[in-house]
């Protein structure tokens, strides 16, 4: 058996193709992207090394509103954590409590998660349509026609209008994660609390939520890094407009690279997004670990 398992040729045949593709499409690009971020390059002419100049330009000169875009992505992250996650948690608690049609509701809530962002984007563009959209029709039907609005064309509402579908789409995902977490809590614990006469609310806040902290952490990390990286829906619905009102780092990066051909500058943006996500993930890990060792 050992001899068979040490077959060098077989190992090579089994692993090499995967490793090659992985290297060409992931490792190499990551390294090059970081390297490009130190260049001034339009992709055709000669590239010159400019050191940290691209990064300085992102924040100091700030001609194309990168800081505003970062701010917007932070707003989305905060909204996700304070609106999306609590809603998801509430739904998960209600569902896990054991209602009729538990599986049915779970299935329905999850549907937006598996749909293409293009479908969701187009759908919401039609919903927001100023003349024939669902939102304005509903407002008029219930007598609130004066609030009807060109939601996506107004710099005041565009940002939030585009955030709604993002939050809407992933509620089901977070709900499912939390639901699975709650379901894996041992029922004995609740029995004991019940005997002690704890209320349902008390049980949720004092038992369930502390016990599913690791999953809550995963949800927070996903919600925040997902917001930092958000691209598809914003690109489809507003492409950062009107007048950069709904710009986020990734849409700005895309347009900087593929419309303005500033490869170095755009790569600095994408590197910033990765570093930002990495730092946040590390901080979250540290915070939760610190708490854990305190409790132990």
């Amino acid at each position: 058996m050992d001899k068979v398992l040490k077959d060098k040729k077989a190992i090579f045949i089994f692993v090499f193709p995967a490793l090659l593709i992985f290297f060409v499409a992931i490792i190499l690009p990551i390294i090059s992207s970081t390297y490009y971020s130190f260049l001034s390059w339009d992709g055709i002419g000669k590239a010159t090394f400019v050191g940290l100049k691209n990064y300085v330009n992102l924040f100091v000169n700030n001609t194309d509103g990168f800081t505003k875009a970062v701010q917007n992505s932070f707003t989305l992250a905060i909204l996700s954590v304070v609106i999306q996650l609590p809603l998801a948690l509430l739904l998960a608690l209600i569902l896990a409590r054991g209602v009729k049609g538990e599986g049915f509701f779970r299935t329905i809530y999850f549907i937006p998660v598996i749909m293409s962002t293009v479908v969701i984007g187009q759908l919401w563009m039609k919903i927001y349509h100023p003349d024939y959209g669902m939102l304005n029709s509903i407002l008029e039907n219930i007598g609130l026609g004066r609030y009807a609005h060109a939601w996506l064309a107004d710099t005041k509402t565009a940002l939030f209008a585009v955030f709604v579908p993002i939050i809407w789409q992933y509620i089901g995902y977070h709900m499912l994660l939390l639901y699975a977490g709650i379901k894996s809590v041992s029922p004995d614990i609740y029995e004991a609390a019940k005997i002690d006469g704890a209320s349902e609310f008390k049980m949720a806040t004092a038992i369930t939520i502390p016990l599913i902290k690791p999953i809550l952490q995963v949800c927070v990390v996903f919600a925040v890094t997902g917001s930092f990286k958000a691209f598809d829906l914003i690109y489809i619905i507003t492409n950062g407009g009107p007048l950069h009102a709904s710009e986020v780092p990734s849409t700005l990066m895309y347009n900087t690279i593929f419309n303005k051909y500033m490869y170095g500058y755009g790569s600095a943006m994408s590197t910033f997004i990765i570093v930002e996500c990495l730092i946040f993930t590390l901080i979250m890990g540290k915070m939760f670990n610190a708490k854990k060792s305190k409790e132990d």
Binding site: V4, A18, S32, S33, Y36, R97, S116
Partner: protein, 298 residues
């Protein structure tokens, strides 16, 4: 430990309830809760129902005020015009080709490399696994421009391969993660017996191991299907040829060109979503599990 956590979470989707400390009685409270659930279900589902309804309407009906209600006449013609003059048929076929090839190639590579990593004996197996798993943290943004340049250099921009290769690459980390932990749980006796019977390594892998891997291959395939069927950023950047566009990009350009033709556009959206829904309805538990595996990696 991770293994246990995952098992727990997975199994929690199956059996009814071990939490449910409050079942039984019908009270005012439980009615309020169920009503809340129903309202949320409507909010999550109504946009889709609206999509289907409007996809059967024509402009006079939509713009004449009947946006919300049932169509007066179920116009299938919207679907035929989306498929034929809107090219949705072509886009659909492209998506099928790209997604199917991605699933086949990635499944094979994931199975073979996971097998070599967990079972076969070589010096760098651990290191190789770590390198693959690190790939789970890589956001696709950072690879977009370099990939574009690499694909241009090897002259496969504007071919199906310009999507298949990156899709396979991004399917590998998660797939190898799922597959290696699954392989750890399979006893080795069968393989040893086959070895004693004189099978060589390829026979052992293809005849004995591969059939055992089916359940986790399904998890991986679902995951890969969803990410490649829906992927927009790469498809939008690496393909210019309208004949090769996949559904997400194709529908975006169709919506841009025929902005006023709501019926056919929405019909196109329904067509693009249909396969996903058809997979989801019978396999909803499996799909949910498959998408959660990424989160419980610990």
């Amino acid at each position: 430990m991770e293994q246990v956590k995952k098992q727990k979470i997975k199994s929690s989707l199956n059996h009814k309830s071990n939490y449910a400390p409050f079942r039984k009685k019908i009270t005012a409270k439980s009615i309020i809760l169920v009503v809340t659930l129903i309202i949320v279900a409507i909010i999550q589902l109504y946009p889709l129902i609206w999509l289907v309804l409007v996809s059967f309407k024509d402009n006079t009906e939509i713009f004449g005020g009947n946006v919300l209600g049932l169509p007066k006449l179920w116009r299938i013609s919207n679907y035929s015009s989306a498929l034929i003059s809107g090219n949705v048929g072509v886009y659909f076929l492209n998506s099928v080709i790209v997604t199917a090839t991605t699933i086949v190639i990635s499944s094979i590579l994931i199975a073979t490399s996971s097998y070599a990593i967990t079972r076969m004996k070589w010096k760098y197996s651990k290191l190789t696994l770590i390198i693959f798993l690190l790939g789970m943290m890589v956001p696709i943004h950072s690879t977009l421009l370099p990939l574009f340049l690499i694909l241009r250099k090897i002259h496969i921009l504007n071919t199906y391969w310009s999507l298949i290769i990156p899709y396979v690459a991004f399917a590998l980390p998660m797939g190898i993660f799922v597959m290696t932990s699954f392989l750890e749980g399979i006893p080795r006796e069968l393989e040893e017996a086959a070895c004693i019977d004189g099978c060589n390594i390829y026979q052992i892998f293809f005849k004995i191991v591969l059939p055992l891997l089916r359940p986790s291959l399904a998890t991986v395939a679902i995951f890969t299907y969803l990410s490649s069927w829906n992927e927009l950023m790469f498809a939008n950047t690496f393909l210019n040829n309208p004949k090769l566009k996949t559904l997400p990009v194709g529908i975006m350009s169709m919506a841009g060109q025929h902005a006023t033709q709501w019926g056919p556009i929405l019909a196109g959206l329904v067509i693009a979503t249909l396969p996903t829904i058809l997979i989801y309805i019978p396999l909803s538990n499996q799909v949910q599990k498959s998408l959660m595996t990424g989160a419980v990696k610990g």
